[in-house]
């Protein structure tokens, strides 16, 4: 029918034409993949701020944003999707306003809540990929655990000071998960937040932008079960800008979540049997 011949509107052809002609994006077929994709972004802070507009600009069909924090002046040097007129507004709502204006074709859904074991499954289930743009080990374990139990791939990144790290977790249910890399959590006192350690805006911004590139590659099928190799990318901004790629271990049979005898099951997470606060220690992490 007509939809098969013209799967997109003229306005969409005009809007996405300059990316559709790039080798590797798959043209119209790739653009339809992007439109059908539903991406959940957890955290609209230093990483989320560049990720969100690039995904919206590219024409990702649905973007969910989980964040219960509000815009603060002290964030604005790095959280440049927000602005001074929005101080006190929920970050997810602030981001939604910007994305709606950038690209009205994209559906933006906001979740102004703190992700936990009892609400994560319901939220995640409506999405194809999850992006971990959070700032605590607790959230990182939770997101990975839920994603493994739901069979979802995670793009996970972090940064502090002038450095950043990025990886893909549970790729296609065969790649390693967060617990494969980190079976034991770090001691709470060894963890620095952006609040304490500080961070350079465009350094964390670069890592967020890399997350957007990885997400487009996942949606467009650049990664396959055949070519995917577990990795961790390490970016450093000062004194020289470098990006290193480390070859990482595969999925671990011994992993408590993705291994042969998992104990980190959906039931254990939802019931609260897995207590993330106790697991990661009691220190109060500042939001970053």
């Amino acid at each position: 029918g007509l939809e098969k011949e013209f799967p997109m509107s003229l306005e969409e052809y005009r809007r996405y034409g300059r990316q559709m002609i790039v080798e590797g994006t798959g043209g119209v077929e790739g653009q339809v993949k992007l439109r059908n994709a539903r991406i959940l972004v957890v955290g609209a802070g230093g990483l989320g701020c560049p990720v969100l507009p690039y995904l919206a600009g590219a024409g990702v069909g649905q973007i969910g944003i989980v964040d219960n924090d509000v815009v603060d002046t002290s964030n604005l040097h790095r959280q440049v999707l927000h602005d001074s007129t929005k101080v006190g507004m929920l970050k997810c709502e602030s981001a939604k306003q910007v994305l709606n204006k950038l690209n009205p074709h994209v559906t933006v859904v906001t979740y102004p809540l703190r992700l936990d074991g009892s609400n994560a499954f319901e939220i995640f289930q409506g999405y194809d990929y999850v992006l971990d743009c959070t700032d605590t080990p607790l959230a990182r374990y939770l997101i990975s655990d839920v994603a493994v139990n739901l069979g979802m791939t995670v793009v996970s990144a972090s940064g502090l000071g002038t450095e950043g790290q990025l990886t893909i977790l549970n790729f296609c249910n065969v790649g390693p998960c967060y617990r494969c890399f980190y079976p034991k959590p770090p001691s709470p006192n060894a963890v620095s937040s952006c609040q304490e350690g500080g961070v350079i805006g465009p350094c964390i911004g670069l890592v967020g932008t890399m997350m957007a590139v990885e997400t487009l590659k996942l949606i467009l099928g650049i990664y396959t079960a055949k070519n995917f190799q577990p990795f961790l990318k390490a970016y450093s901004g000062f004194p020289d800008q470098t990006l290193r790629t480390f070859k990482m271990r595969g999925r671990q049979d011994s992993c408590e979540c993705s291994g042969k005898n998992p104990t980190v099951t959906r039931e254990a997470i939802e019931s609260g049997e897995i207590n993330y606060s106790v697991f990661c220690g009691s220190r109060d992490y500042n939001v970053c």
Binding site: G43, G45, G46, L47, G48, D132, C133, T134, D135, T136, P137, R140, A157, S158, G159, L160, G161, E163, G164, Q165, F181, Y182, P183, K184, P185, P186, S187, A190, V191, S192, S193, C194, G197, V199, I204, L232, A234, S236, R244, T245, F246, K247, M248, R249, Y285, C288
Partner: protein
């Protein structure tokens, strides 16, 4: 004797006089990563109060990744890997900020 480069990233350089890359010479026949870790604790951490930032219960602290020539040490035999001249051994603290 073996001559390797040792690198501290992700903020770990703070406990090594803020220097990221170090040349290290260790005496002995077969020198493993475990030996290197012992050497680092004994010879390279200037403030002994900082030792807990690097090791815990006799091995690398949880949250620190160890890389041998840019590959996860789990792929290379872990603590028992025998160092070769010219190896680059990297330790990086996992970052959590976002």
């Amino acid at each position: 004797m073996v001559k390797v480069k040792v690198e501290f990233m992700g903020g770990l350089d703070v406990i090594f006089n803020k220097q990221r890359m170090h040349q290290v010479l260790i005496d002995g026949g077969e020198v493993t990563i475990k030996d290197l870790i012992d050497y680092i604790v004994a010879e390279m951490i200037s403030n002994k109060n900082d030792i807990g930032v690097f090791v815990e219960n006799g091995t690398i602290r949880p949250g620190i990744l160890t890389l041998i020539n840019d590959a996860d040490w789990e792929l290379e035999g872990g603590e028992e890997y025998v160092l070769e001249d010219g190896d680059i051994i990297s330790f990086t603290s996992t970052l959590h900020g976002g």
